[in-house]
């Protein structure tokens, strides 16, 4: 017997097992990828384009991108990742900009928005002045700001006075603004009410990296961008307002990202440059050479028309608007309550049976089927509270209840991940619970809370069953004009097309197009959440 030979242990089972596991892991993802590919092909119909069109874009866009990506992957993977993030940012902001334009075209007029911003700015200014000179206590500040906000938004004595029977004395700021006979042009209002606030945010972002002067430059550039976009709009064939909004929503974040990249990692700009540049070159080339693009079902007409019984003419516009409105209601209703409940459970709640009950309760609520939430909405909001069926308010409230447990659970995890040493340091210095929560816990937990909220909103956008249960109409032809107007949503519209209008024409044309739009929005939101989470996890 050899004393130096330990023999070999067979690894075959292990290796087979390992590959089997890898296969299991990839099956779902690959299957989804294939399905998404199929639906994208069905919706965009790439095979109907001229071969020349394909070739042009291949040479100007695909090939350079692959070359640059491959080069960066080998030499500087960080730059590849950073560059990819910028491209992603561009895509997400463009999508977001589309939604914002929709809001300002069909939901909120620039005058109303201007009035609203003014109505918020005036009390803020008054409050700042009062704080600086008089230094009131917290109770007084809260009361004063609440009163000022109320007067500003609702007038004196406002709806409360109406209930009591008092005659109106002074109108709200919004009403005042609306009654001014001669107003500046829409885009000028937007410059003040959109470019300015966005510019202030951009300015403070830049100032945190450089200094005050850098911040002012950023503010100035943002406003200038808005004005330039408005003035250049007619020559581009679009209206001034949407032009400004597009330029601001896409240009400012992307511009800031490019600026940061220029300062820290110049090579990262290679990828966005070749992607954007290649796309533009390709677009000009196919125009000049006269190649026809694909006859995609996802086109401008699809995104801007309403439903029609003819599949080719059907569009997603009212559903997109409806989804946006619902999301607005959901954020307003669920974010404060969800995060507030999480803060209570993690920082304030004593360790007793009531707390444990609430704990168990929340995890059970997270597992309740969405259709039962719809039933809840139907029973409580429609039947019990007498609200009309299928409105923005009822739909928003029902969806909020649905995602409330999700927001609570993910916020709790984010808060729990704040290291105990920091709380100890704060309490050791005699900070009260609220001071510790406000100054130490929340700032640190905020990225996690934000990520969780974005993912929860993604879930809410894709939900159909609750909306059906509360009686949302299958098709609407226009956007809701107020909170109590009927509303549809993207997944609901797609469902209606797939079932109620389930003719082969719809299945070929409208349904894939709707699916592609819906999935794109969701992928954008999920990617945003994942990127945010990675960035802040690395920073901490």
């Amino acid at each position: 017997m050899s004393t130096h030979d330990f023999g070999q242990v067979s690894r075959t089972v292990g290796t087979v097992f390992r590959y089997a596991l890898l296969a299991a892991t990839l099956v779902g993802v690959v299957a989804l990828g294939i399905l998404l590919l199929f639906v994208a092909v069905d919706a965009i119909q790439p095979l109907t384009a001229d071969p020349g069109w394909h070739l042009t874009f291949f040479l100007s866009f695909v090939l350079p991108t692959l070359v640059v990506s491959g080069y960066l992957y080998r030499r500087a993977p960080d730059s590849l990742r950073a560059g990819g993030a910028i491209v992603g940012l561009l895509a997400v902001t463009t999508m977001f900009a589309g939604g914002v334009v929709l809001i300002f075209v069909d939901i909120v007029s620039p005058i109303t928005w201007f009035g609203f911003v003014l109505a918020l700015a005036l009390p803020a200014g008054v409050l700042a002045l009062v704080s600086r000179t008089l230094s009131p206590g917290m109770g007084t500040s809260v009361g004063l700001s609440a009163a000022l906000l109320y007067i500003s938004l609702a007038g004196v004595p406002g709806p409360v006075g109406g209930i009591v029977g008092l005659a109106p004395i002074a109108p709200s700021v919004i009403a005042l603004v609306g009654s001014i006979p001669v107003l500046p042009v829409d885009w000028m209002l937007l410059v003040v009410s959109v470019s300015l606030p966005v510019g202030l945010l951009a300015g403070s972002y830049v100032a945190s990296y450089t200094d005050r002067r850098g911040g002012i430059v950023a503010l100035g550039l943002t406003v200038a961008l808005g004005v330039a976009a408005s003035l250049a709009a007619p020559s581009l064939g679009i209206s001034a307002g949407p032009s400004l909004l597009l330029a601001t929503v896409v240009g400012v974040p992307t511009g800031l990202a490019v600026w940061r990249s220029w300062e820290t990692n110049r090579l990262a700009l290679a990828l966005p440059a070749v992607v954007v540049g290649g796309a533009f070159v390709g677009a000009f080339a196919v125009e000049a050479l006269g190649f026809a693009g694909p006859q995609s079902w996802v086109d401008w007409q699809f995104l801007t028309s309403a439903h029609s019984r003819i599949a080719e003419d059907a569009g997603l516009y009212p559903a997109i608007g409806g989804s946006i409105l619902l999301m607005g209601a959901v954020i307003v209703l669920s974010f404060p309550f969800g995060v507030g409940a999480a803060i209570y459970m993690e920082e304030y709640a004593p360790d007793n049976r009531l707390t444990r009950l609430i704990d168990v309760n929340i995890s059970n609520l997270a597992g309740v089927p969405s259709v039962v939430y719809g039933l809840l909405g139907l029973g409580v909001f429609v039947r019990f509270a007498g609200q009309p069926t299928g409105t923005v308010l009822v739909g928003g409230a029902t969806l909020s209840l649905l995602i409330l447990p999700i927001i609570i659970i993910s916020s709790r995890e984010a808060i729990r991940s704040v290291p105990e040493e920091m709380r100890q340091a704060s309490y050791g210095m005699g900070a009260t619970r609220w001071q510790t929560v406000k100054n130490v816990v929340l700032p640190r937990a905020f990225p996690g809370v934000l990520t969780g909220t974005i993912l929860a909103l993604g879930r809410a956008i894709g939900e159909t069953a609750p909306l059906i249960m509360i009686g949302a109409p299958d098709v609407v032809f226009s956007l809701p004009a107020e909170l109590s107007a009927k509303v549809s949503a993207m997944p609901l519209q797609v469902y209606a097309w797939a079932t109620l209008y389930g003719s082969p024409a719809f299945y070929q044309k409208a349904v894939p197009a709707g699916v592609v739009v819906l999935v794109s929005v969701l992928l954008a939101m999920n990617s945003l959440a994942i990127v945010l989470r990675n960035r802040y996890q690395n920073e901490q």
């Binding site: 299991a24 892991t25 639906v39 409940a341 993604g458 819906l518 999935v519």
Partner: protein, 318 residues
Amino acid sequence: MSTDDITDELTRNVEGTTQERLPRLFFFICAAVSVVTTVSIVVLLATEAARFFSVTAPLVGFAGETVDAADFFLKTAWQPPEQFGVLALVSATILITVGSAVVAIPLGVGTAIYLSEYATPAARSRLKPALEILAGIPTVVYGFFAVIYITPVIQGVFPQTGAFNLASASIVVGIMIIPMVASISEDAMSAVPEDLRQAGYGMGATKFDVATGVVVPAALSGIVSSFILALSRAIGETMAVTVAAGSQAQYLNVLNPASYLEGALPMTAAMIKLLLSDITGGGLAYRSLYAIGITLFAITLAMNVISDFIAQRYREEY
């Protein structure tokens, strides 16, 4: 500083000020909302369902049409507004749940083992977001996929498959819940201390031995709990099955694999279908919604509680 001065400072009651009470009250109200929600669900479902069943209707003072509880729970024909035998719906739900379990459990556990024991950190950082995306796709889209892309494939193999069938619905629901099984199981496996693995390797065990013989058994309670949660999700899944499984209720044999080639109406889809029919006026059909609703709620609640119990009771304390 004298004793009196310091006494003044120390007895100031900082925590009791409005500044502290106000935030605390606000946060408590937020937490209470969740309790109110649950109570509302239970009260609502209970009272409306009570109006549906003959045996409970008198208790809530309801004098309209009702259905005998025995008929509801034991009959197999579901044709509102005449017949309300829930077994037809239950059979479809069971078939879909079992079918999705067949898909999701092996793939989910396999994924969890791979991510926890085999994957490099780089691979893990790419695979986990991919799985999250799997979970983030709207369910109605999955239903569409089932009808348009998966059913034709099944029909290629079994030509007698219906255009709406339970097989493709099960497959997509399975794919949908893989991330749930995978992430909860993976959490359970990650919680197994490294020392146990080291002990195994130290004895000359291969990775396969350690993964299957040490880690999985140690994390078993968490893994089983993930199954139960995922199945509860499958039971409650609505839109994918509404689009893909069919709209005609029929009672199927849950033990016969051939049932999967048929279309049927699971509980959740039945609720949607009821709503699309005429339910104005609070008639019997309207109230049957709540009967199914309370059944669903009870089932998912029970499964959540059981899953919690298993996770707590059988969890190894490290």
